[in-house]
């Protein structure tokens, strides 16, 4: 049996921390608990609005952190003409949709806070793409621009009260209900055609963005598309190949305002990476600057781990109560020194898979059973 390899989650975690650190991001360590009020005021920003709470000794209602970004933003300061670059590696506590019980989830991510320019966005997208590549070469980073989508929805005349429902349709690529909703709201057919095209258009940015510019000219301010062209065009060619532009990547417009993105790995059913530019959240929390960042959900990666090997140990070494301790220890050390995984026991434990069963008799090791 070889040296036990690092699990994929551990390997990815080391790789990503080293990657972010190489780009000058410093580690942000957060407290285990945060005042519940912070999450209560920004529930829509959270993936799940269930939070584990308890009353602290001073009577304050506290929460086990369900999210890292909110805490980073809350503890950040506005630094004019400067950008703070942080990464984190933290456990968060969220309710699982399936079991309706809380789970501890390991989350790795980074945040870039301050005067966000094109380079910051390009760097964050680059690191998001590199993060996916660290997990698997079969990956896709899908991006959209929420500010642009929101503006297009407003301009075609969808009333504000229906905006969330319409964004949901876009997120589901649900063109039939989008059409029905727009008709109920009195949006004209040309406006509906524009929104349906936004749902349907999907592909590599360099192919899709020129089509979008034509489509949205006169409907929305297309400067975000020009920014997207600049930012994605400046990425390394191997990373550009991973990008897909698709408006179905949506988020809450109360928090996100610019580029939003999600990362997918082949054979995993959902996204493993999620991020975007969230200047609106910064403003909500009283900051004047902008921010962009993402999180990688490493708990999902266990599905990518190879199946366990055929054996738990190479050998089970049985010994009697009267066995000579020094002889037993020497035997075990001799085998482990040869790279074997050895389990010394008085009896064979239940449910253990071993290659060989050995017995120590006096100073001799006798084979009892061998599994091919």
């Amino acid at each position: 049996m070889d040296q036990l390899p690092l699990g994929l989650q551990e390997r990815v975690s080391f790789t990503l921390r080293a990657l972010y650190s190489r780009y000058g991001y410093t580690q942000y360590k957060m407290n285990k608990f945060e005042e519940y009020d912070l999450y209560a005021r920004n529930k829509d920003f959270l993936v799940s609005d269930s939070v584990i709470t308890f009353t602290d000794t001073n009577g304050k209602l506290m929460a086990l952190k369900p999210d890292v970004t909110l805490s980073i933003v809350k503890n950040s300061r506005d630094l004019p003409q400067s950008v703070q670059k942080l990464y984190y590696h933290e456990n968060v506590y969220r309710a699982s949709r399936g079991t309706r019980s809380f789970q501890e989830i390991m989350q790795i991510g980074l945040e870039c806070l301050g005067e966000i320019d094109d380079y910051c966005v390009c760097e964050v997208l680059t690191l998001a793409a590199e993060s996916l590549l660290a997990i698997s070469p079969h990956c896709v980073l899908e991006l959209s621009h929420l500010g642009l989508l929101s503006q297009a929805i407003d301009r075609v005349g969808v009333p504000a009260r229906e905006k969330a429902a319409l964004l949901k349709c876009v997120g589901e690529k649900n063109a039939h209900e989008l059409t029905a909703l727009c008709r109920r709201c009195g949006v004209d057919e040309s406006g509906i055609a524009v929104l349906r095209s936004l749902v349907e258009i999907s592909g590599q940015p360099q192919q899709v963005l020129p089509r979008l510019k034509q489509l949205l000219a006169g409907v929305a301010d297309i400067s975000p598309l020009e920014q997207l062209s600049r930012v994605t065009g400046a990425m390394a060619p191997n990373l550009q190949a991973l990008l897909r532009f698709d408006f179905s990547v949506v988020g809450d417009v109360n928090y996100y305002n610019g580029i939003v993105f999600k990362g997918f790995i082949h054979t995993l059913p959902g996204s493993v990476l999620s991020g975007g530019q969230y200047d609106n959240l910064m403003e909500k929390l009283g900051r004047r600057s902008g921010a962009v960042g993402f999180a990688v959900y490493t708990d999902l990666l266990e599905r990518l781990e190879p199946a366990a090997g055929a054996y738990d140990v190479d050998a089970v070494l049985l010994y009697d109560a009267g066995a000579d301790l020094t002889v037993l220890r020497t035997c075990v050390e001799e085998m482990t020194g040869r790279g074997m995984h050895v389990l010394a026991q008085r009896q064979v434990p239940e449910n253990i898979r071993f290659r060989q069963l050995l017995r120590l008799c006096g100073s001799e090791v006798i084979p009892v059973e061998h599994n091919a």
Partner: protein, 207 residues
């Protein structure tokens, strides 16, 4: 291989016929046996029959790339999937019904019997009405007859069962039909095949 989850029963058979006409046939599906999975390796499709309410779970969790589920299931469980097409079959409606002559008393909490607790809760939340949900798994129509509930929220097709039990529809919550859904990640890695299937099946719905 494209994995397709179809709902067991009449709706699934209707939908399979649409897929077959769209060029995604799997003749083995007509064999009279107890197999659960049917493949056509030449066309690269694999079908499996699942309980209608489970289709969305198979698709959301990636066991199926695409599937067909009723809008009622999608609204109730809100799975993280793409809803790509309204197939226009299995049409019915989610409705509120009560005993004929029922008059809502706003001073009392309204007792609502349903299999669709989330849909019912959303509907009454929008109306600002205080309700008590009684979750039942079947024979929902019995609840108001035995005074277990004031109203029911359930699927109504022809309305015959309601009429025969002296129940009447008070309001339509939402129209229901079968929808073609897809796993989000599968749409990134099998985009070409899924798009082709959607286009060809869409052509069947327009005929």
């Amino acid at each position: 291989m494209l994995n397709i989850a179809l709902p067991k029963g009449r709706l699934g058979e209707t939908v399979y016929a649409m897929f077959e006409r769209a060029g995604f046939a799997c003749p083995a599906i007509h064999d009279n046996n107890r197999k659960l999975v049917f493949e056509n390796p030449e066309l690269g499709v694999r079908y499996f029959w699942v309980k209608p309410s489970d289709v969305a779970i198979y698709v959301e969790r990636g066991a199926a790339d695409i599937g067909v589920a009723g809008k009622d299931i999608l609204l109730e469980y809100a799975p993280e999937v793409y809803e790509l097409l309204d197939l226009g079959v299995g049409r019915c409606r989610m409705a509120v019904a009560a005993k004929a002559g029922f008059c809502d008393d706003p001073r009392r909490t309204l007792r609502v019997a349903t299999k669709f607790a989330n849909i019912a809760a959303d509907y009454y939340r929008a109306l600002g009405r205080d309700i008590d949900i009684i979750h039942l798994n079947g024979s929902i129509e019995l609840a108001p007859i035995l005074d277990l509930s004031d109203v029911i929220v359930d699927i109504v097709e022809t309305g015959t069962t309601l009429r025969e039990n002296n129940l009447t529809v008070l309001d339509t919550v939402v129209p229901i039909s079968a929808r073609l859904i897809a796993n989000k990640a599968a749409c990134k890695f099998k985009a070409g095949r899924i798009n082709t299937l959607v286009e060809q099946v869409a052509a069947q719905t327009e005929e």
